[in-house]
Symmetry: C2
Subunit: 317 residues, 2 copies
């Protein structure tokens, strides 16, 4: 059996995962998701990237916000506001139902991997969605205002503080889950696809797991990234702003450089075709495709494109 | 300052607490509430009696169900059902908002007493509402089908199993909170009123707290109970069914006998006026009043009646 492993953060990654899920057999695709922006809030364990991936694969994501559920209501949040509770992190009613179910299962001693498997089943998601680890890893953002927990930086402060560095608290003690290990160890592994997610705070934590980079370098299968930066801007989220604050001109090439020798090729958008002339001989292979996914059809087209590109790749190593 | 202490369970007790709150100054009334039917569910700490008392005092209780909030919606519960979660214990959206807020405060290390004080403030409840203890006490119901946690018996099994006995798990290790202690120790204590709540599972756990019976017996102030049994039936809940199953013919006199020497008098309903002829010389004083509270005015009238009766009472001891 051939297998594709996708590494994935939130919105952009989830869209490509949706595309891949529509061109792969269910048992061919394993989506490994960042958990470093998970956090505890109101006694719930919120897993923004896992939930975005699950909701998107289930066709239930909110098309407007890039997080949460479609056809959502806000009764609980409204009452929490009346009661003087914290409402800076918006949780819709449907979303809360899932968080309560997760809370209950975690409370019974299930791992996040097991909980995610059950939630995927309940949402009729057929492909395998794996948290990168069952251990708590939490992104901390070093900013000009001091270190902030990721959601404080991202939601409460709307990415306003200037970024200086990232720290993934707990990552040294974490390890990829056994399920993640075995996805990579699959003899039929055909490729690893790094989805168009933030390289610092979405893919970064996955790559920071002990042994993960070594594992990628040692693969026989090729590693293909899709750039989340198009025309010097992030499709969604703070990736480009972070690059600028870290004194890196935002571009798909900069993304390629961040991944360095971990990837064999990167897919850049049609808008960035000119980058073909700028690339250095040491850069990974550059492919051009339509990477901006506005419609479900765009997602499937990019998924199909990525699967097609895989076979044109030869491992550098 | 004179002070009234009311011991209270759910619906009936909450209604009299509402009545008393409307005829006492806010700082005159302390309502001590059963916590033995609290339970952990979906990772939340649910305190049915405290919440019924808070919602009722705030004028926000659901008039139909006898639990939960008025003008409630069920979005979370509906989605939880879609996700295959547990829905046997109905939690409305507004209710969930309060549970999340409580969960968050408990998670920060606040005691249930402190949390309840904050929730009362947020709901604009002016009188003092105190959980009977900050320690976990959980009612276990011995039935013909074995021992059941209270909410399993009460909600999931709708009180169907035949009751044989009650056990308040944890009560030996619990103690009345310091705030409960000081309410009883108030030099201005004018009376203790045992509200028309289930004597076994609502008032019973309060009285089972270490030292509580001794404390009641040692008071200078009188103790007045209001019977939850009217015309041989419970106004609401399983009190009469429990009595029958324990081979005690349900009546207001049976309630008086359960409380025994802890009370100086009991208020029975107009419908039970005939009990005046049946009472034994050893029974506590019997008062007759309209105890069935259908309207807010009924509650206030019974509250006023109770306050009036207090001064006619002399301590037996």
């Amino acid at each position: 059996m051939s297998r594709i492993v996708a590494l994935c953060g939130g919105v952009g990654g989830a869209k490509l995962a949706y595309g891949l899920a529509n061109v792969c057999e269910a048992d061919e695709l394993v989506v490994i998701v960042n958990t470093a922006d998970d956090f505890e809030h109101l006694g719930l364990t919120i897993c923004p990237d896992i939930d975005t991936v699950l909701y998107t694969l289930a066709g239930k994501e909110n098309p407007e916000f890039g997080w949460g559920r479609a056809e959502e209501s806000w009764r609980v949040m409204h009452e929490l506001e009346q009661l003087g509770g914290e409402t800076w992190f918006k949780l819709g009613d449907k979303d809360i139902a899932l968080h309560l179910l997760r809370r209950q299962m975690l409370g019974r001693g299930m791992t996040l991997t097991e909980v995610t498997r059950v939630l995927a089943q309940r949402l009729s998601v057929a492909v395998t969605v794996l948290p990168m680890t069952d251990a708590p890893v939490r992104t901390m953002v070093t900013t000009d205002e001091g270190e902030l927990p990721f959601q404080d930086y991202f939601v409460r402060r709307r990415c306003e503080p200037v970024v200086k560095a990232f720290r993934f608290a707990g990552v040294e003690q974490a390890s990829p889950s056994p399920q993640v290990e075995s996805a990579f160890a699959s003899p039929g592994l055909r490729a690893v696809i790094i989805c168009p997610s933030n390289p610092y705070v979405s893919v970064g934590p996955i790559l920071a797991l002990p042994g993960m980079k070594e594992r990628l370098r040692a693969l026989d299968a090729p590693v293909l990234a899709v750039s989340p930066i198009v025309g010097g801007r992030a499709i969604k989220g703070p990736a480009a702003k972070m690059m600028r604050e870290l004194a890196i001109p935002p571009s798909a090439l900069a993304v390629a450089r961040i991944y360095g020798d971990l990837i064999d090729a990167i897919v850049v958008d049609e808008q960035d075709r000119a980058l073909l002339d700028l690339r250095e001989s040491t850069d990974p292979t550059l492919f051009v495709a339509q990477t901006v996914m506005k419609t479900p059809e765009d997602r499937v087209a990019l998924g199909r494109e990525c699967i097609g590109l895989i076979d044109r790749l030869v491992r550098k190593a």
